[in-house]
């Protein structure tokens, strides 16, 4: 077993060479990072500025450019864990179902009698009908509004759960539809958050779904969690509603179908508006910051075809009437319609500064969050602290490596050198695998690497101790080395598999730092088995062939 075929030697060395190549970009972290940023910018914009071309030239295109992602604790940035209020959507669905159900029941007024919506918990639509004996008919009508659930698990089920008792008919979403809706709501929120963060153009944000209704957002380089929250926390729900009345009475009764909303820029002023909007922000196709005819900041917007049509029809029928532009339950402005707007474009102006109009345009372009979010976890890590951690991590890794190498060499002499080479190659391989995978290095991750340095020699120690024993038992050198390797194998495998199990559990059950640590630990296990068994053996064999030693002192 001590003669390793040529192709195997080549393969081992090639793998290590590849590892070195892929780990190398990390030595030139800033240059590679700027190069990568320039490449993404060029892809997104379709052109490159002078600066970007220069940054791109800082690192050759043909070299690997993957980097170890630095975690928030090393780079600084903000971390948010948000919970999406998926139930919000149930209420919205029921509210929008009401006019439909009312019209459908009203068509059968002779049979079911008068229809009235009564108070019910959010997410339920309860109506009272005049002729309770015709309830079966009413239920049938309501059922006519239901559609099958469009999801794999809920296929074949109806989206509405309808129940009746006495004169009351209650409609709510079925469980299957609720599950499907929750999923859609979270997906949509995720997408919108991603778009909002991308608009600001920060580097490599992490936006992940977590569990049923949670979203994890990590943005490196942003000043604080507060800033991030402002960016994504606004729902930006934009609607255009007919105005019924303008008042200064905060307790005015709006009447059914109407709501009372405060004005954004005139304190103490309230508008009574119709609850059902003419057009909503979802019909927008574009929004950009601009200035109105008085030179004040404003936002220009454009509707899609169907929105433009509805807006045109409404404005032509209501010339001289005010209509309200409502953002997140506040009236931005309530201009009077002077002429029909059929072009599908318009302008929002009101009390805002340039920054405000830019942000509003971003929010409108990205679309509204389908439901409100609350934040369960917020973390801000300052960039200085991150830099301190990197420095401390680097220093302690170097000292740890030097200490371990010195100890190994003192204990095993030349074989200790071989083991040390294997350990150093091991660390490089870990970095290269992490760069290839785009894995994130955190502070606990650095500790994981340091621990790997400590334990990676374990496989070598097991082998060397075994060789020592074989030598003491009087075996010839080559035989002792050979047997040492093969006898130690079972212990090495068992030991590493158990550690691997622990790392897997950490990965699947852990979150945050635990997960990052598990990733480095797992990669370290795999690479350390490779370097301890294959690389060390190759080094020993090369040494035997080159020096042809007569005896071995170990």
């Amino acid at each position: 077993m001590l003669d390793i075929p040529f192709w195997k030697r080549l393969l081992i060395l090639a793998l290590i060479g590849l590892g070195l190549l892929y780990a190398m970009p990390n030595l030139f972290y800033n240059r590679v990072e700027q190069h990568n940023d320039a490449v993404t910018a060029a892809e997104r914009n379709g052109f490159a500025t002078e600066e970007e071309t220069q940054a791109r030239a800082g690192w050759p295109d043909w070299l690997p450019s993957g980097l170890v992602n630095l975690g928030l604790d090393l780079r600084g940035g903000a971390h948010l864990l948000g919970e999406v209020h998926v139930q919000d959507v149930y209420k919205a669905r029921m509210d929008s179902l009401w006019p439909e159900l009312r019209d459908a029941l009203a068509a059968q007024r002779d049979l079911v009698g008068a229809v009235r919506r009564v108070q019910a918990p959010d997410g339920q639509l309860t109506v009272e009908i005049g002729n309770p004996e015709q309830m079966a008919k009413a239920v049938e009508i309501a059922r006519g509004l239901a559609t099958p659930v469009t999801s794999l698990t809920g296929a074949g089920q109806s989206d509405l759960a309808i129940s009746a008792s006495g004169s009351r008919l209650t409609v709510q979403l079925s469980d299957a539809e609720k599950a499907a809706t929750d999923d859609r709501t979270v997906q949509q929120s995720l997408e919108i958050i991603r778009r909002r963060i991308d608009e600001v153009g920060t580097r490599e944000p992490t936006i992940q779904r977590q569990g049923k209704d949670r979203i994890l957002i990590q943005v490196p380089g942003i000043g604080s969690a507060e800033e991030l929250k402002q960016l994504i926390g606004t729902t930006a729900k934009l609607t255009f509603n007919p105005v019924v009345n303008r008042t200064t009475d905060a307790n005015a009764r709006p009447g059914t179908g109407n709501v009372l909303l405060p004005s954004m820029d005139e304190p103490g002023v309230y508008y009574v508006i119709e609850e059902n909007p003419v057009v909503t922000g979802e019909d927008l196709t574009d929004a950009r910051p601009s200035f109105d005819q008085n030179g004040a900041p404003a936002v220009d917007f454009r509707f899609g075809p169907s929105g433009a049509k509805r807006f045109g029809a409404y404005t032509s029928a209501n010339i001289g009437q005010p209509f309200a532009i409502v953002l997140d339950n506040q009236v931005i402005s309530a201009p009077v319609i002077r002429q029909a707007i059929t072009t599908g474009s318009g302008q929002i102006s009101g009390a805002m500064d340039v920054e405000g109009s830019t942000q509003l345009a971003v929010l409108l372009r990205a679309g509204a969050l389908p439901a409100q979010m609350t934040f369960l976890e917020e973390r801000t890590i300052g960039p200085e602290l991150g830099q301190d951690s990197i420095d401390a991590g680097r220093l302690s890794s170097i000292i740890a490596t030097v200490a371990v190498v010195a100890y190994m060499v003192a204990s095993y002499g030349l074989f200790g050198v071989f083991a040390s080479v294997a350990v150093i190659v091991n660390v490089i391989l870990i970095l290269s695998v992490m760069s290839m995978m785009g894995a994130t290095l955190t502070l606990p991750g650095i500790a994981g690497i340091v621990l790997t340095v400590g334990t990676a020699v374990d496989a070598n120690v097991i082998i060397y101790e075994r060789i020592r024993e074989e030598l003491r038992a009087g075996k010839r050198m080559a035989k002792a080395i050979d047997d040492g390797f093969s006898e130690a194998m079972s212990a090495i495998i068992d030991a590493n598999v158990t550690s691997f199990i622990a790392a897997m559990v950490m990965f699947f059950l852990g979150s945050g730092p635990v997960k990052g640590f598990a990733v480095t630990l797992t990669i370290g296990l795999v690479t350390s088995v490779f370097t301890a068994i294959y690389l060390t053996r190759l080094l020993i064999v090369l040494w035997l062939e080159w020096r042809k030693p007569k005896e071995l002192i170990l």
Partner: protein, 330 residues
């Protein structure tokens, strides 16, 4: 003769079982003491598990904790604790404090407005103070985090037990698990004793410790199995002593290299990570001890099937159960 550093002589023949009742008694006592400590003193849970807000301040000028406390007194924040952080790596112009604000009400963390007030109040005391890190966790999440952390430790233990049962015998699996429980309890106990901050990273350290301890145990078990086949008639206790003596050199070597690496991290790794590294270092120490004095005692008392010639599990030749891919290595 070339120089070789040997912490363990070549041929040792210590009797590790001479004091087996004493050592096992100490272990059992330590486990009980740990549980009592946790019950009586509790754990110093970080905000990961307890909810609340922590603020790390850094300032070039020295400050008095009392001044900070006074500045925050009027803000009605509930439970506030301020500690000054010392670290050898800090220069003379770096003064760090950790301010922890407990959960105030059902919303859990401090509101952004309160946070602004806190920052403003501290800046009036020390205009140069900067806020290096601000973290807050709501009680809803913290409750879940503590639950999943326990699941993680539990699941890892069960998976490892299952693997050892597959590869060895059930007695070995039980021995390994008792030693894992021993290590975990003792680590949690020392965290309680010194009131060190117990958070998510501590759990990661605990799981690593667990991996290391099992690693250590498995290497000894592996040799034990081999010796059991080799010395069919030797009393179990003697086989075990022989095994530990044979593997002692390796156990010490690996513990020292790991301790060297972790020691470097402990001294030079900065204060942010010190608790985490301490947990691992302690774990290495306890793990070593438990391999020799806990795991094997259990196996000794339970006994293992010795007569492999009778029908029963097939006798294994050394190396036979190594996956073919590795057996055929160069």
């Amino acid at each position: 003769m070339a120089f070789r550093l040997k912490l363990v002589p070549d041929n040792t023949s210590y009797n590790f079982f001479r004091w087996q009742w004493l050592t096992f008694g100490i272990s059992a006592l330590a486990m009980v003491v740990s549980v009592v400590l946790v019950l009586v003193m509790g754990l110093n849970f970080g905000i990961d598990f307890k909810g609340g807000t922590t603020i790390r301040t850094e300032s070039p000028t020295a400050f008095e904790v009392g001044d900070y406390r006074q500045a925050l007194n009027g803000l009605d924040l509930g439970d506030v604790s301020i500690t000054e952080v010392f670290d050898p790596s800090f220069g003379a112009s770096k003064h760090v404090a950790m301010i922890r604000i407990g959960t105030t009400d059902e919303t859990g963390s401090v509101t952004p407005e309160q946070l602004n007030e806190v920052e403003a109040a501290l800046q009036t005391v020390d205009p140069q103070v900067v806020f290096a890190a601000v973290e807050s966790v709501g009680p809803k999440v913290s409750g879940e985090l503590i639950k999943t952390a326990f699941y993680a430790v539990g699941a890892a233990t069960i998976c490892i037990m299952f693997y050892i049962w597959l590869r060895f015998e059930w007695q070995f699996a039980l021995g390994a698990v008792v030693s894992i429980v021993h290590d975990v309890l003792l680590t949690v106990g020392i965290f309680s004793l010194f009131q060190l901050k117990f958070d998510l990273t501590t759990i990661a350290a605990l799981l690593t410790t667990l991996g290391y301890s099992v690693n250590d145990t498995v290497v000894v078990f592996d040799r034990l199995r081999e010796n059991l086949i080799k010395f069919k008639t030797m009393p179990l206790i003697d086989v075990m002593n022989l095994t530990v003596n044979e593997t002692l050199s390796r156990t010490i070597m690996t513990a020292v290299t790991t301790a060297l690496a972790l020691g470097a991290m402990m001294i030079f790794g900065g204060d942010v990570i010190r608790g985490f590294v301490f947990a691992m270092l302690w774990g290495v120490f306890v793990g070593c001890y438990s391999t020799i004095y806990v795991a094997k005692n259990i196996v000794l008392w339970l006994g293992v099937k010795r007569d492999w010639s009778k029908p029963g599990p097939k006798e294994k030749t050394p190396g036979e159960d190594i996956p073919a891919a590795f057996r055929d290595a160069p």
